[in-house]
């Protein structure tokens, strides 16, 4: 691949083009935080040699944003995505954007970027029309060249037209190409980050090598709720090259070598004071219910619950729980900060460059314009890097040592201790089914620990009440957004409850869903999933070990089918086969979307079966991957992914939706295999054995 772009010249050739801007480059268009710029020049720059650079405030966390956004620009400008250089997540160079989370990239940023590219195309055609003395309608456009269709020798190029300057003409909103004319959208496109990632050249925040860098290790309390009181640093200070930074309860040990800094930190003797929360991973659910109960708050209510209950022929009362779960990105939080000439630059593994800029500015009492965030390749996010406490630590130290780059790279124990977990939660549902086994007569749900977000699905229900007590400071541990927050907790509860209702009433779970679903698009999706997977209708448990669950994220819908094998002597669950049918509207990058679904299913096999943060008071008992169990290769089922053709609906985003129904589908499959209902995520072998004990003998 030949690169001659304006982004060239930094680092080792083609591999470092993104995230490394031209030295001293300034944004072409000043942008206002909180709004996308209207000038397309903020997103796109055409260099003198005709290459197109695309500037976006999103980051590449593995989800493929770099590739799919380049596809949209390429589509409108008639380029190959390889001809678009991406520069992402630099708050000085990129226009403001929302965090890279919540499946927002394709939903919110993509239409804006595509619109900018469409306008740029129209402007370029207009300029060519003038230069070539031919009407726009007579021109053709491809690979950065524009020519007169009837006289191909009358031609010009993007580079000649623009000469590296900002394009001054504006046309306002220009419609993107109609789908029928699109050649890039829907195509399998090579990932732009493939080469740097398979050669080890991709730079993550910890890979930056600034001369004179000091590596900082921060002294941590042994438990949440405790803070540093006194510290004896004498032994650490005897290590040659060590520097101590102390600021109140914050203490860091610095050394030019990362491993020496870590060893020296271990020599610091600290005493800590404060109060640990009085709860542990066993008592947390009652704790949440007790604390939340007095604050009952109805989020929505419809119909007459009491009357609905009278009409019910089958009533089920269920309680569903999920544990705290870590993001456990393989790359621990890592940042490098440098304080120079009154300005803080932070190179970081962030999902939210613009939010992090404000986080750092606020923490250091600096103006927003005094902070620059430069995102690097991010080694996994899943919501865990929407916040950047490690980046703030690096900046805090850097401010005290002007001109010296300070790296803070958490180790695994810190990463598991300091993460903002997926909240532990309890959902209680009481609901009933009518005698015809086709109508939910009432559905009464209360959740403690998360919100009622995405609790509802397009199911017909006669009377509903959703409660979610809002208690500030409810959680004893730090919580955060974990891929499809709230939605996966609520889907686990809802879909387990429906499965229990179906079983009790003796109706096939797919048949029940068919009767309840009140949206033709979702019904078609259910059919697609069931036809692809194969399903012989029968009320559970059938012994086959097949489970169904549905999930929603905004207007993106998913139907999941799981097949499991349960070892009844050990309680171990093995997922054999997993299918998801996913309708997120127009699929721009089919292979990228498929990767997101495969990844979500795989990740949530860990969520469903093994991942749980164990704690006692403020002490986090899981310190590494020996007890915090991510799914390994032997746990991965055969995975099938199907997308219905739905090009008429705008792309909804794909990061979160496929996460939503995974645990529920697996739990329902465990029930189908054994008759045992697992109600707590993760359903570890111990919990499965307990559930098996509760199965009444035939």
């Amino acid at each position: 691949m030949k690169r001659r772009s304006f982004l060239q010249g930094v680092g080792a050739g083609a591999l470092t083009l993104f995230f490394t801007g031209p030295a001293g480059a300034a944004p072409i268009v000043p942008t206002r935080p909180g709004a996308y710029p209207e000038d397309f020049n903020a997103f796109l720059k055409i260099s003198a040699d005709g290459r197109v650079g695309c500037f976006v405030g999103k980051t590449e966390i593995g989800q493929g944003a770099m590739t799919v956004l380049a596809m949209l620009v390429a589509e409108e400008l008639e380029l190959d995505p390889a001809q678009v250089d991406m520069l992402m997540g630099d708050t000085d160079l990129c226009p403001w954007d929302l965090p890279t989370g919540g499946s927002l990239t394709m939903w919110q940023t993509a239409p804006v970027l595509r619109g900018a590219a469409a306008e740029a195309r129209a402007v370029l055609l207009g300029m060519a029309s003038k230069a070539l003395g031919a009407p726009v309608a007579s021109l053709a456009l491809k690979d950065g060249a524009i020519w007169v269709k009837s006289a191909p020798k009358r031609r010009t190029t993007f580079g000649e037209l623009v000469k590296g300057q900002k394009m001054e003409r504006h046309l306002g909103k220009v419609k993107p190409k109609p789908l029928a004319e699109c050649t890039v959208i829907g195509r399998r496109v090579p990932r732009k980050d493939a080469l740097p990632k398979v050669t080890g050249a991709a730079k993550y925040a910890g890979d930056l090598r600034f001369p004179g860098t000091l590596h900082a290790c921060v002294l941590r309390p042994p438990a949440h709720g405790l803070v540093l009181a006194t510290a004896d640093t004498a032994a650490a200070e005897r290590v040659p090259g060590v520097r101590i930074v102390r600021d109140g309860a914050f203490l860091a040990v610095l050394h030019p070598q990362p491993d020496t800094a870590r060893k020296a930190l271990a020599l610091v003797k600290g005493t800590f004071e404060g109060t640990e929360p009085d709860v542990d991973d066993g008592r947390i659910y009652q704790y949440l219910l007790d604390k939340a109960a007095p604050g009952q708050r109805v989020v929505s209510s419809r119909g007459d619950l009491a009357a609905g209950e009278k009409r019910a022929a089958t009533v089920v009362e269920g309680e569903y729980r999920n544990a705290y779960e870590s993001h456990a990105t393989l790359e621990p939080h890592t940042s490098v900060a440098k304080w120079e000439e009154g300005r803080m630059t932070v190179w970081s593994c962030t999902q939210s460059p613009f939010v992090l800029r404000d986080e750092v500015a606020t923490a250091l009492k600096l103006g927003q314009d005094k902070v620059r965030i430069i995102a690097q390749f991010v080694g996994g996010g899943f919501g865990g890097k929407l916040v950047g406490p490690g980046a703030v630590e690096a900046a805090r130290i850097a401010q005290k040592i002007p001109g010296v780059p300070i790296q803070v790279a958490w180790n695994r124990e810190e990463d598991l201790f300091l993460d903002g977990y997926r909240p532990a939660a309890v959902v209680k549902i009481r609901s009933g089914l009518d005698a015809a086994r086709g109508g939910i007569t009432f559905w009464d749900s209360i959740v403690a620990g998360v919100s009622q977000g995405e609790a509802e699905f397009p199911y017909e229900m006669q009377a509903t009440r959703y409660q979610a007590p809002a208690v500030p400071g409810l959680h004893p541990l730090k919580i955060g957004a974990w891929r499809a927050p709230n939605a996966h907790t609520n889907a686990f509860a809802r879909e387990s409850q429906l499965d229990a209702l179906a079983a009790k009433a003796g109706v096939d779970p797919v048949t029940l869903r068919r009767r309840l679903i009140n949206d033709a698009r979702v019904l078609r999706l259910l059919d697609l999933a069931v036809e692809t997977f194969g399903w012989d209708p029968a009320p559970g448990p059938t012994g086959r070990g097949i489970g169904l669950a549905c999930g929603a994220w905004r207007q993106g819908f998913v139907v999941a089918l799981a097949e499991v094998r349960v070892d009844k002597s050990t309680g171990k669950v093995r997922a054999q086969r997993f299918l998801e049918a996913v309708d997120v509207g127009l699929v721009v990058n089919p292979d990228g979307a498929r990767q997101q679904v495969e990844g979500a299913i795989t990740m949530c096999i860990g969520q469903a079966l093994s991942e749980e943060i164990r704690f006692k008071g403020g002490r986090i008992l899981d310190k590494n991957f020996d007890t915090y169990l991510l799914p390994r290769f032997s746990a991965i089922p055969r995975i099938q992914v199907v997308f219905p053709d739905n090009p008429g609906m705008p792309t909804q985003g794909i990061g979160e939706p496929p996460v939503v129904p995974v645990a529920a589908a697996l739990a329902n499959a465990v029930f189908d295999a054994t008759g045992a209902r697992v109600t707590q995520v993760p359903f570890t072998p111990e919990r499965v054995l307990e559930a098996l004990k509760r199965v009444p003998a035939k």
Partner: protein
């Protein structure tokens, strides 16, 4: 101060002055500037720091500099030859057998060592060989496909 330690790194002889008990991952990343080898758990549990020592896949976070004295060490940076990707790298690229990429160096080197020993591997054997490497993004199915495809191209795989 320890005596300098020499070993062959990606085909070239190197001599480093670090203490013999310094972990190889830090020698590679911090002293020699080869950052393709990643740090994930520092306990040999995740495989992100895997390198090949005499063509055997080892976690460099749990291997000391002294351990590799006089031996040959291959890192991800040494796999491509003459600007041409190694077949395992190429397979990972073609199958998109990664997402965030943080585990990728370790995955490729683990697969490489395994395929060298056993090109005619079954899927179950590949799973077993890769079991020590964690991927958080869930690229597993593609990694298995990629590794299998290299085996097939080498005339192996059942």
């Amino acid at each position: 101060m320890d005596a300098p330690v020499s070993f062959v790194l990606n085909g070239k002889s190197v001599t480093v002055q670090s203490p013999r008990d310094r972990m190889l991952v830090w020698v590679l990343r911090d002293e020699l500037g080869l950052t393709g080898t990643k740090v994930g758990c520092e306990a040999g549990l995740c495989g992100a720091c895997t390198v090949l020592v005499n063509f055997e896949a080892l976690p460099s976070c749990s291997t000391t500099l002294g351990d590799v004295a006089g031996k040959s060490v291959l890192t991800i940076e040494g796999l491509a030859r003459g600007g041409k990707l190694d077949p395992v790298q190429k397979a990972f690229q073609d199958h998109h057998a990664f997402q965030c990429g943080y585990c990728t160096s370790g995955m490729i080197l683990t697969a490489w060592a395994f395929l060298k020993k056993k090109p005619k591997a079954s899927r179950a054997e590949i799973v077993e060989a890769m079991e020590g490497n964690l991927c958080r993004c869930g690229a597993h199915v593609r990694i298995l496909e990629a590794v299998e495809s290299v085996g097939k191209a080498m005339g192996g795989a059942r």
